[in-house]
Structures are given as C-alpha cells and as structure tokens.
C-alpha cells in the first residue's frame, strides 16, 4: 500500500509535467491551427536559460526562473512573428516540418556550448523530502504538483476574466467571426505562441530537479501527444487531465504489469483512445477540429 502511494505521487508529479507540455501544445494548436513539434526543445531551452542565468550570471534562483520563462515567451512570440505565421492556412505538415527544423536549431544551438553538450546540471532547489507519517514525498514532486495547480488556476482566470484571454478563446473557436468582431487575430496568434513557449519553459524548470537539465531532456515532450489526444486534442483542461492520467497510468503499469509494458502504455492508450473515444476521454465537443 505504501509503495503504491509512493509510486502514485511520482506518477502524478510526472503526469503534471506531461500535462503542462500537452497544455502548451493544445493551446497553440487551438489558437493557431499549428501543430508544434518543438515543445520539447522549448522545454529544454527553458531549463538551460534558467540554468545559465542562475549559475553563469549569478542571478537568484527564482528570478532566473522567472526571467527564463519570460525569455522563452518572447522567443515564442518572436518566432511567430518571424516565421511561424507563414504556416497559417498551409497543410499541417508544413508546420510539423517547420517546427521540427526550428527545434533542431535550438538543440544545435545549445549543443554548440561545450559545457552544455558535455554535462548535465542540477538547479539547486527542491532537493529535500517531506515526511507524512510513513509516507515520504519528494519536495520536487510537490513543487511540480503545486506549481501546476497554481498555473492551471491562473490560466483559467486569464481565459475567463481578461480581455486578452476572452479574445484568444474567441479566436480559437472561430477565427473568422472573431476577426469580424474586431479581435486582432494576428496579435492573438502571437500571444498564443508566447504562452505556449512560456508554458513549455515552466515545464522544463519544474522538470529540472527531477531529471536535471541536459540536452535530451526535451524527449519527454513525446508523451505530450498521447496526453493531448486523451484530452481530446482541443481541450485545455482535457490536456492537463490527460497528462496526469498518463503519468499515473504509466507509474502503476510499471508497478503491476510485466517488464517493458510501462514504456508502451502511453502509446497504446493513444491508439485505444482514438478507436474508442475519438473526442477524448471526457467526451464532449470538438473532436473533429483536429482535422
């Protein structure tokens, strides 16, 4: 029972990271109809940006983290302005290839720094543990879970109560009508990319104490696809829930199922979800938007 709870807590924490990446992917996809294959690279870049500011430039940790997220949001916005908006109205494959190429450039850019290519690093926070009776929880896991909840609430408030959030939602629902209503659609696209890149950076920083910061840390973003599909591909809360579900399913599969099953569980779930619940586990509207 204790082992079960321990594993469950790690599963939820990792699931939150999947969920955040899935969230960033779905946010961009919904608002701009662009499939981004570089969320993992943005995540990695966010981790390294925080690291560079803290270790190399000597900024305080929280400030570095904040600055890293802002920097990545700016990068996202800049990329949207410079290149990504050219994919609007093009087939999905154009965006897939374009973002894949951009992701390679980011990886290459980081790998060009000898210290980054050779070593991995630890961001010095959340190394301790918390004891609740016999249950021992890692502070890093609690951090991830707490930060994800706070972010989710902030995002919900943003989409519900701010002008920009409502406009972004309108834009995602129906870009043409939104434009007719006076929503600056192009600016909304930029905003979506800024948010998406910033969220990926947050995921990277939260992941940093768990897996350290290194060149290949972005591979975790592959799990965001099953998470997004489980959530119905166009639902923000669905993506987050899908991620947590996936993390828990994976962790429990590792405990109960035979060797190796853990690693295919996310993808088997993805295929099963497409077969059985094409609009996501939560059901509801919008399954066809993925076309």
């Amino acid at each position: 029972m204790l082992a079960f709870l321990q594993v469950l807590s790690s599963g939820i924490a990792i699931g939150c990271v999947y969920g955040l990446v899935a969230l960033s992917f779905v946010l961009i996809f919904k608002a701009t109809q662009t499939v981004s294959f570089m969320q993992g690279d943005l995540l990695m870049l966010g981790g390294f940006a925080g690291l560079a500011l803290h270790l190399a430039a000597g900024w305080p940790l929280m400030l570095s983290a904040l600055a890293a997220v802002l920097a990545l949001a700016l990068l996202g916005a800049g990329l949207e302005r410079a290149v990504l908006r050219r994919t609007i109205g093009q087939p999905h494959l154009v965006a897939v290839l374009l973002t894949f190429g951009l992701g390679m450039m980011m990886r290459g850019g980081v790998a060009s720094v000898p210290a980054a290519a050779q070593d991995m690093y630890r961001l010095p926070f959340a190394a301790d543990t918390l004891e609740l009776g016999p249950l021992v929880l890692a502070a890093s896991h609690l951090w991830v879970i707490g930060a994800t909840m706070v972010l989710a609430l902030l995002l919900a408030a943003f989409f519900r109560h701010t002008r920009a959030g409502i406009a972004l939602r309108a834009c995602a629902e129906d870009a043409r009508s939104a434009a007719l209503m006076g929503v600056p659609v192009a600016r909304m696209h930029t905003l979506a990319w800024a948010l998406g890149a910033g969220l990926a950076a947050v995921a990277g920083l939260l992941l940093a104490p768990i897996t350290f910061v290194h060149l290949n840390m972005g591979f975790i973003a592959l799990k965001a696809f099953p998470a997004a599909v489980l959530g119905g591909l166009t639902s923000l809360p669905g993506a987050l829930a899908g991620g947590v579900f996936l993390g828990v399913a994976e962790a429990l599969a590792g405990l109960a199922l035979p060797e190796g099953a853990k690693d295919v569980v996310p993808y088997v779930l993805l295929m099963a979800a497409l077969l059985l619940f094409p609009t996501g586990l939560a059901g509801g509207r919008g399954g066809g938007d993925g076309r």
Binding site: A3, Q6, V7, S10, G11, I14, V17, G108, A111, P114, A115, A117, Q118, D119, M120, Y121, R122, A127, T129, V136, A138, L207, I210, T211, F212, H214, L215, N216, F219, I220, E250, A251, L252, A253, G254, L255, E259, G260, K262, D263
Partner: protein, 388 residues
C-alpha cells in the same frame, strides 16, 4: 542513343581512372598520417563523444608539436554519426575512400561499430579500440581488429563476485537500461552470482531516457534486495539512489563503469554517498592530483574550456597508444607492421592510473580488469586494486 553510349564510355573511363592509384599505404604520406574517427557528437552518447575526441586531439597535437611521428604529422579526421549506423557507414566510406584514413580509432556506439567495421576491415584498415562492449570487436581474431575495453560482462562478473563476497549479500538485484548495454551487464551479474551459487532475486528495466524510476525502485524494494546492481548511466544512477533514499531504503548499490563519473556525485550530492562503482580508469580529480596530472588537467582546461573527465582521459590514452605504437613501428608504417608492433608492446600504467594494456598475437583484447570504487565525502575513492 548515341549520346548515351558516349556517356557510358566516358563513365567507364572515369571508373578505370578512379581505381588506378592504390600503390602506397593509404593514409600515410611523407608528411602525414591520417586517422579516422567516427564519433557521436549529437546523439544519445554525445556526452562521451565530445571529451573522447578532445582527449585524442590533445594527444595528437602534442605529438605534432614534438615533431610528429618519424617526421609525419598526425591528422585526426572526425565524422559525427550520431549513433546512427546509416550515417556511420557513409562516414566510414568517406574516411576510407576520400580521406584515405590509415586507421580507425574509437568508433562510438555499438550499432555504428557493427555497421562500419566490415567497411573498415574490407578496405584493409586498422580498427582500433571502438567504444562498444560487443565481443565482435575483438573476436574472432582478425589481424586488424584491436579492442581496449572488455565487454561489461567481464568487468561486472568480477565486480559482482567481489562485492557479494565482501559484503555477504544474499539477495542481489539488478536495475538495467533495456538495451545492449543493460543486457551485457545482466549476463555478467548472472555469471558472477552463478559462480557463488547465489540467485539474481529480481531484475527490472527502464527505457533509455526514462524520467521516473519510482516504480522500478518500488519493485526492487518489494523483492527485499540487499544489493542492487545498477546498469545505468549517470542520470539514472542518481535518480535510482535518490528514489531509494527518499522512500527510506538504505540499500547498497553498485554501478557499472558508465555511472563512474564525477557527475554522479556532482549531481547527486549527499544522496549518492556510499555508492559503489566499477572503475576502469580513475577520474582525473584536480584536487590532490600529482603535479604531472595537475599540469595535464590545466592544459586540457585551457584548450577546451571545460574540465576533463574520465572520457577525456580515455581518448587521450587511446591516442597515446596509437602514437607510441606508430613510433615503435618505425618509418615503414603499414597496417600489418603496426598490428605486429601493437601485439608486442606492453603499455604499463601511467600518470592517470590506467590499467596495464597488453595485446598478443592471439589475443586482441587489451584489458579485462576493473576495480571497485566508492563515493566517500563527495568523490570517488578507489577501494580495491584491479580485480583478477
């Protein structure tokens, strides 16, 4: 159709021309020796690839600064295959046919080694010290094939046997990466335990790049292990130790040479204190180094901007063996002569504390022995000599 026929004629003329010059020894001219290196600078083992290459570059530069080998300058041509055998084969063909490499040194990664070795050997070039634990790199005996690193199996058999005897562990378990590396270690651990008549109580794997090992550790704990052998690389080593300590499990762990890295304690801090490891080469710590080693570390740092690690030492040592063998071979450098010399030379220990490497006419594996180390006070301390 006439145009086509003329084209075919021109084509065959070019073909004949291309295969005409093959008189001298490939890669050896009056002024230069070309050495090829197929590396991984962008793939999953890029963290090894870069320091190995830099170590080799450093040794070759030193040799060149000292006038070269019998007046010939050494030139290392590096190609990045990124752990991908397709790119490896293309790189090997380029090195064979265009750069005319005299020898291939330290090819990185089993898939790349397995795909490129036939290309290299068929062209009659030396295939030296690849980074692959595969037996095919030295067996069956081939006049041009030499290997410096034993399969993990050999190191781990001796290390497991020694550890279990030393600590009288009853319930040994294994956490392994589910690839060729993990398999090799598993065979070694099983063989070592088999010799003592003890079972491998539980084994559990993880996928390369896995983020979370909590379910694996929970499994091992449920099996009540008293020794966990880790076939992991640096990050997973730290993650496994941290996870075990987190759930309050004070079990002894032994990691392979892949986890024997300064990064393990730099990243792990207190959580990895007490971890055992297998060392094939000691880590070059600047603190407490003898003056010659300290000088080497300083030169390396000045040249490449980062501190050297055990892989840098490995690269440097391999290049050093190449230089010394080429020097001992004399002016008439051919692959066959080089191989005969390599079979005779004894490479005794050096400033780094390397093991003695020795090849013979019927054994092309240079070393089979590792030693045990433990993390004490935040650094690796060697606790045994090379295990026989």
């Amino acid at each position: 159709m006439k145009a086509l026929r003329r084209l075919a004629l021109a084509l065959s003329a070019v073909l004949a021309g291309a295969s005409a010059h093959a008189a001298d020894v490939a890669g050896v001219s009056a002024r230069e020796i070309v050495v090829g290196h197929v590396s991984d600078l962008s793939g999953p083992i890029a963290m090894l690839g870069t320091p190995v290459r830099d170590g080799m570059l450093m040794r070759f530069d030193e040799a060149n600064a000292a006038g070269g080998v019998h007046g010939r300058m050494l030139r290392l041509v590096v190609e990045d295959a990124g752990y991908d055998p397709k790119r490896g084969v293309l790189a090997a063909r380029k090195l064979v046919q265009r750069d005319k490499a005299f020898a291939f040194i330290a090819t990185m990664g089993t898939p790349v080694v397995m795909a490129t070795m036939p290309v290299v050997l068929d062209a009659g070039r030396l295939h030296l010290f690849p980074f692959s634990p595969h037996k095919a790199t030295y067996e069956p005996l081939h006049p041009l094939k030499f290997q410096n690193f034993a399969p993990y199996q050999d190191y781990m058999e001796a290390a497991t046997r020694h550890m279990v005897e030393r600590g009288d562990y009853r319930r040994s378990c294994l956490l392994y990466q589910d690839d060729d590396y993990g398999q090799e270690v598993m065979r070694g651990v099983e063989a070592g335990l088999g010799k003592l008549g003890r079972p491998l109580v539980e084994r559990t794997g993880y996928k390369r790049g896995a983020t979370d090992l909590s379910s694996q550790i929970a499994r091992l704990r449920a099996a009540d292990c008293d020794l966990v052998v880790l076939a992991t690389v640096v990050r997973e080593t730290v993650a496994a130790m941290a996870e075990a300590r987190r759930i309050g499990w004070q079990v002894d762990m032994l990691v392979t040479a892949s986890g024997y890295s300064a990064q393990t304690h730099e990243l792990g801090g207190d959580t990895v204190e007490g971890l055992y490891g297998v060392s094939v080469l000691p880590h070059p710590y600047a603190e407490g180094a003898n003056p010659r080693l300290a000088g080497w570390i300083e030169r390396y740092r000045a040249r490449f901007g980062v501190a050297p690690n055990v892989w840098s030492v490995m690269g440097y040592t391999l290049a050093d063996m190449f230089v010394r063998t080429a020097e001992a071979t004399g002016r008439d450098l051919t692959p066959a002569a080089f191989a005969r010399t390599l079979e005779r030379i004894e490479f005794a220990g050096d400033d780094f504390g390397s093991p003695a490497y020795r090849f013979s006419a019927d054994d092309h594996l240079g070393n089979r022995h590792g030693r045990l180390a433990q993390i004490r006070n935040g650094r690796w301390e060697l606790i045994t000599d090379y295990l026989r």
